[in-house]
């Protein structure tokens, strides 16, 4: 459905927020989605368990890139323990569109990236990752 290409998503795709790299990141993580060839990289600066600054780069489809852009807006200034509670549904709610099964991986790549960063920081994640049981 092309209805997923609403204005806000296209805007985040064309003008991604927090796009780039941090000079001295505390955490650097990468994730990719072999289905689309989507790639995402994220840098975090963390002090006292709180995200001070965040940047991302990547290349891929509108859904994966917009989702990452929106996520960076969401996590800046938040404690890691709170981010550990973020769920897949939170990401989909942020996107605010109906994501088909085939595109779910694109939409959730950013969450996978954030969770990699949390693992890196030694924070345990509340929701189980896809494929785990």
């Amino acid at each position: 459905m092309d209805s997923i290409y609403k204005e806000e998503i296209l805007d985040h795709y064309k003008n991604p927020r927090n796009f780039g790299e941090l000079e001295k990141p505390d955490i650097h993580v990468e994730a990719n989605n072999p289905l689309c060839g989507d790639k995402l990289f994220m840098d975090l600066e963390v002090r006292d368990g709180i995200v001070q600054d965040v940047r991302f780069t990547g290349r891929g489809c509108a859904i994966s890139q917009a989702s990452a852009s929106m996520l960076t807006e969401e996590i800046a200034g938040k404690p890691l323990t709170e981010l550990a509670k973020m769920t897949r549904q939170d990401i989909l709610d942020n996107l605010g569109v109906e994501v088909s099964y085939a595109r779910m991986k694109c939409a959730l790549l950013s969450l996978g990236l954030l969770r990699l960063a949390l693992v890196e920081a030694g924070v345990s994640i509340a929701e189980q990752m896809e494929g785990e049981s």
Partner: protein, 453 residues
């Protein structure tokens, strides 16, 4: 149970478990005359008189509505749609004949065996194999290639031996060789591509030095490039190498004559040529197949089994362990009859016309980049990119218009790396594709550009 093992070789084709009369009826040696047809409703053959709209009407799925729009199916390279005759043949098999083959001495099993083996003979005729013993049923092209790496490869390739591949290969003709290379220390070498996506053959002779086997695609599933396989096979044989063709895109779209090509192994899938999924073919020259060890072990592939060991069955069953895909083999037989009735020269020229038509339009669309050679050197495959838009977004928007295209790496990640693209969008054609489908694609691309512009 082995009551007929003393029959003359050519007539003793089915495993020796059914009556002599049935054997004679079930697998005649292949001769170059039209194969018997499973069903009556086949398209007419004459080149100029092929009614392509009538061909299209044979495919019930094409009248489907998707997202409120008529279905425009442009992903035949991934899998082809099935004509009514194939659906009917398989349904008829399950409704009237279903039984395990090469087993029971009862009517159903004998008829099932007969239909299964007659399909093999017709498939052999389709590619002009000398004997149906050279036609091995597998699951698909991938399994056919793995059969060769596991049996011929393990028996013949040793540390330092070289296998020559190309940079345009599908993962199915790369990974099995990489696995063998890791296991055996076999070296892999690759033929290069020029910027159009055509194989560079200037250094073919040098590349063939010390090569034991060449394994290449007959037609690229991404670029559509039709490779000059006659030339490569001749040069390889001159250099003392055998040749396997990945004909997953070749056999469905081009006339293929294994004897004229003098190819040693040839692999293809049923589902890309109007047949069902789950059935594929490995063709191999008989003397090579005879020398190869068996592939999977189990029922049907054996002659005798004791607690101490086994002796393998004759060709082709030596490579067919376990209950095979019986309905699927019979369905592929019907698909082969269907394509034969149209004529493979006709199929190819129909697709070339569509390819020319598409390239003429799309090459002039601003922001659209086409990949692969010109229409004269390729089959009905159009890979493209739209500036500023990821192929998955293209495919999603086209889907909303009822148009099915493929987006991604097309199981050719090394080729994507060579072309320096993360992914591509691909539209591909078959006998039921018409100009209106391409016009719909072009309108869809304009819609993509409007959304992402």
């Amino acid at each position: 149970m082995h009551t007929t093992t003393n029959l003359p070789e050519e007539t003793a084709l089915p495993p020796a478990r059914i009556s002599t009369a049935e054997i004679a009826a079930s697998d005649p040696p292949i001769v170059n005359k039209p194969a018997p047809l499973e069903m009556a409703s086949l398209p007419s053959k004459a080149a100029s008189s092929t009614d392509w709209e009538k061909v299209r009407a044979d495919f019930p799925i094409l009248s489907r509505i998707v997202h409120g729009k008529p279905l425009v199916y442009l992903d035949s390279t991934a899998t082809a749609q099935k004509p009514q005759v194939v659906l009917d043949t398989m349904e008829n098999y399950y409704r009237t004949t279903n039984a395990n083959i090469h087993r029971g001495v009862y009517e159903l099993s004998e008829v099932a065996t007969d239909r299964y083996e007659k399909a093999r003979a017709r498939i052999g005729n389709f590619i002009n194999a000398k004997s149906s013993r050279e036609i091995i049923y597998t699951r698909n092209t991938t399994e056919s290639i793995n059969l060769v790496t596991h049996t011929w490869g393990r028996a013949n390739l040793h540390e330092g031996d070289v296998v020559l591949l190309t940079k345009m290969e599908h993962h199915s003709n790369l990974v099995p060789w990489q696995m063998l290379a890791a296991e055996r220390g076999v070296k892999l070498r690759y033929l290069d591509l020029d910027p159009r996506g055509v194989l560079v053959l200037d250094d073919l002779e040098a590349k063939l030095q010390g090569v034991k086997l060449v394994s290449i695609t007959q037609m690229s599933n991404v670029l559509g490039t039709i490779n000059p396989v006659e030339e490569i096979i001749a040069a390889a044989h001159q250099a003392g190498a055998l040749v396997m063709l990945d004909a997953a895109q070749g056999v469905p779209h081009l006339p293929v004559d294994v004897q004229a090509l003098d190819v040693d192994f040839l692999a293809f899938s049923g589902h890309k040529m109007c047949g069902p999924t789950g059935i594929g073919i490995l063709y191999g020259k008989r003397h090579l197949l005879e020398e190869m060890p068996p592939f999977l072990g189990g029922g049907d592939m054996i002659n005798t089994v004791t607690l101490e060991g086994f002796t393998p069955n004759q060709l082709p069953w030596k490579f067919e362990a376990g209950t095979p895909a019986i309905a699927e083999a019979i369905g592929l037989g019907a698909a082969v009859d269907y394509l034969s009735a149209i004529g493979m020269d006709n199929v190819h020229s129909h697709e070339q016309k569509l390819t020319s038509y598409t390239i003429d339009i799309m090459a002039n669309m601003p922001g659209v980049t086409l990949y692969g050679p010109d229409a004269a050197h390729k089959g009905g495959v159009i890979s493209f990119a739209i500036e500023g838009t990821h192929p998955h977004d293209i495919a999603t928007i086209l889907d909303s218009e009822g148009i099915c295209i493929r987006a991604g790496h097309h199981c050719c990640q090394p080729l994507m790396q060579h072309l320096d693209v993360p992914a591509l969008a691909r539209a591909s054609f078959y006998i039921y594709t018409r100009k209106e489908d391409i016009d719909a694609l072009v309108e869809g691309i304009k819609k993509v550009q409007a959304i992402f512009g």
